[in-house]
């Protein structure tokens, strides 16, 4: 990595200091989410994406047509479904990946197995580690991926649209009455998220309050009793698919519970809000409308 950076060394060093994104003489150079410098000789033209979220971000940044390989569940946008697979995000086929001879691999820090990504680096591949956690990270990831692929114009348009959508929601719900909500990301075991999670940021944006926001773990596991005790006004859940509301029906056996009594059991398609991609703006909009409905039922 250092070797490839040599010509643009100064640029790479500057990259460490303040703006995460800079362009060098020998090709694009950025700092990834693992605080490593990632430099290319030329814009990336053979990209492998190791998570469905990274695939979406690459498409949004204008680099979609250069993705040569990805992992299972990369289903958005529709063109992503036709990209050859190299395995799953938790175990991929290094041989197959190597055969694609990628000039850039976009890895997922918390989702990909460390030993496999380290092997890719040992084999001489250029790896960009990605771990967007907040709305701001979505924008900065688009910027950096756009720079690596030489599609900065497309990326900046996507960033502007994304920021505008978020700003609009922010302006509309800034002074809205807080609604305590429980967001369920998994059923059996029951799981939610704390305030460090992107979903909780979306809840705050909509003027909601995550009842488990102060939990210690990013994804706490709960029993139903603790949810009843937290007395949220609304329950929002994803599901096993993009239109599976089965998890919400399970709450209907507690008719005395405020959220159930008022009919505030809401569904948000999971891929709109559980993946840190530009689509989270749309997911947030759906969530905000649900919370507004809940306010109307007080």
């Amino acid at each position: 990595m250092q070797g490839r950076c040599a010509a643009g060394l100064l640029v790479c060093l500057l990259g460490l200091v303040s703006p995460a994104v800079l362009s060098g003489e020998s090709g694009p150079c950025v700092v990834d989410d693992a605080e490593r410098r990632v430099c290319l000789q030329a814009p990336a033209r053979r990209i492998v994406s190791l998570s469905p979220g990274a695939t979406e971000l690459l498409f949004a940044a204008g680099a979609g047509e250069w993705i040569e390989g990805t992992v299972r569940y990369s289903d958005y946008p529709a063109a992503a479904k036709r990209i050859p697979r190299v395995g799953t995000h938790s175990r991929f086929d290094i041989e197959k990946l190597l055969a694609l001879s990628p000039d850039l691999v976009v890895a997922w820090i918390s989702g990909n197995p460390a030993e496999q990504v380290e092997r890719l680096q040992a084999l001489g591949m250029t790896v960009y580690y990605s771990e967007p956690r907040r709305f701001e990270d979505v924008s900065s990831t688009l910027e950096r991926l756009g720079l690596l692929a030489g599609t900065t114009d497309v990326a900046r348009t996507a960033i502007a649209e994304f920021n505008a959508a978020i700003d609009e929601l922010e302006a509309r719900y800034r002074d809205a009455d807080p609604v305590p909500i429980f967001y369920q990301i998994w059923d059996d075991p029951l799981m939610t998220v704390n305030d460090s999670h992107l979903i909780s940021q979306a809840i705050e944006l909509c003027g909601g309050r995550n009842v488990f926001g102060a939990a210690d773990r990013l994804v706490p596991r709960l029993d139903r009793e603790s949810v009843l005790a937290a007395a949220p006004e609304a329950i929002v859940a994803g599901g096993m698919g993009e239109d599976d509301t089965g998890w919400l029906e399970a709450w209907e056996r507690f008719p005395g519970f405020t959220a159930v009594r008022r009919g505030n059991l809401f569904f948000v398609p999971p891929s709109y809000i559980q993946r840190p991609t530009p689509r989270v703006a749309e997911g947030s909009r759906i969530l905000c409308e649900h919370l507004e409905t809940a306010r109307g039922r007080r």
């Binding site: 799953t88 290094i94 190597l98 197995p113």
Partner: protein, 322 residues
């Protein structure tokens, strides 16, 4: 002694054939001419990387790990005089699992996982040794009971870690628990331990034959039973620790390979031990080849394949043997 050689030569032949097959197949299809070019030191750059940097080290690691597990299983079965004994029966894989999963939970990175697995395995070995030694008299039954109970304790700790672990780390932890050669960083430590073990244990074959008949008989025939038993325990533990450190807790190889060999070639330890090394290695090489190609590009944990291959083969041999 010469009558021992034909079966070993046959097994060695099968092992070499299995390794060649494993090097030849994978997601990247390489024609025989391409393989030959790589062997001769040139050929396509992609082919060279795939064969020399991915397949050959992985095949060697699989062979060494399988060999270690099978020899450790054979030793445990003699030591405990119990056909159900396998390398993990005394809780060693549990200790290693707690070590490896702790490293993963703390996010120490792939480099630290083998080291903490090895440390966990040694802690478990010393713990079982110390408690089984205790204050009273020592017997294989006591060692076995101690090991089984310690293993149950580790099992509970592993379950606890899986429950409190961050959701995104669970798949990696499960792959480690089922065993997977993707964790093998370098085949050489495991190969070295296997070679050393074969050299050191082979001369003990005759004494082990006597020990297998029971400690009283062995003592009558002039074998120093207690030192022999402890050496076997330490040897089996080190072998298992090396295997688990290389590729996670791969099940089943250590249990069935020695039994299969006994059904096929009798129970002379001088033959069983080297044969276990060869047959265990071969089984794991074949299982790993299937694990990485069966539903490619998706990868299976090799432990699934060892059981799927081993169970029917073993049951057939058992059924056939009266």
């Amino acid at each position: 002694m010469p009558r021992l050689f034909p079966p070993l030569l046959l097994l060695a032949g099968i092992a070499v054939a299995a390794m060649l097959l494993a090097v030849a197949v994978g997601s990247v299809s390489i024609p025989v001419a391409g393989l030959w070019a790589v062997v001769q030191g040139d050929g396509d750059q992609l082919h060279r990387t795939v064969v020399l940097e991915l397949r050959v080290p992985r095949v060697l690691a699989a062979f060494a790990t399988g060999g270690l597990l099978a020899v450790a299983g054979a030793l445990m079965q003699v030591l405990l005089r119990n056909p159900l004994a396998d390398p993990y029966v005394l809780g060693l894989s549990g200790g290693a699992a707690v070590g490896a999963l702790s490293a993963m939970l703390l996010g120490l990175g792939a480099v630290m996982v083998p080291g903490s697995a090895f440390a966990g395995a040694l802690v478990s070995t010393v713990l079982v040794f110390g408690i089984a030694h205790g204050t009273g008299s020592w017997t294989p039954t006591r060692l076995l009971l101690t090991g089984v109970v310690v293993a149950a304790g580790w099992g509970a700790v592993v379950t606890f870690m899986l429950v409190i672990g961050p959701t995104e780390r669970i798949p990696g932890m499960l792959y480690w628990l089922m065993g997977d050669l993707a964790y093998a960083r370098s085949p050489w430590p495991a190969m070295f331990v296997l070679a050393l073990a074969c050299l050191l244990i082979m001369p003990l074959g005759r004494s082990l034959n006597v020990l297998a008949r029971g400690p009283l008989q062995a003592a009558t025939l002039g074998v120093a039973v207690r030192p022999l038993e402890w050496s076997v325990y330490v040897a089996a533990s080190v072998l298992t620790a090396a295997a688990v450190t290389t590729a996670g807790a791969i099940g089943f190889v250590g249990l069935i390979v020695p039994h299969m060999l006994r059904l096929l070639i009798g129970s002379d330890q001088r033959l069983i031990l080297p044969a276990s090394a060869l047959a265990g290695g071969t089984l794991l090489v074949l299982a790993d080849t299937l694990a990485r190609t069966l539903i490619a590009p998706e990868q299976l944990p090799v432990g699934v394949i060892t059981a799927l291959l081993g169970v029917p083969t073993f049951l057939y041999l058992l059924y056939r043997s009266r």
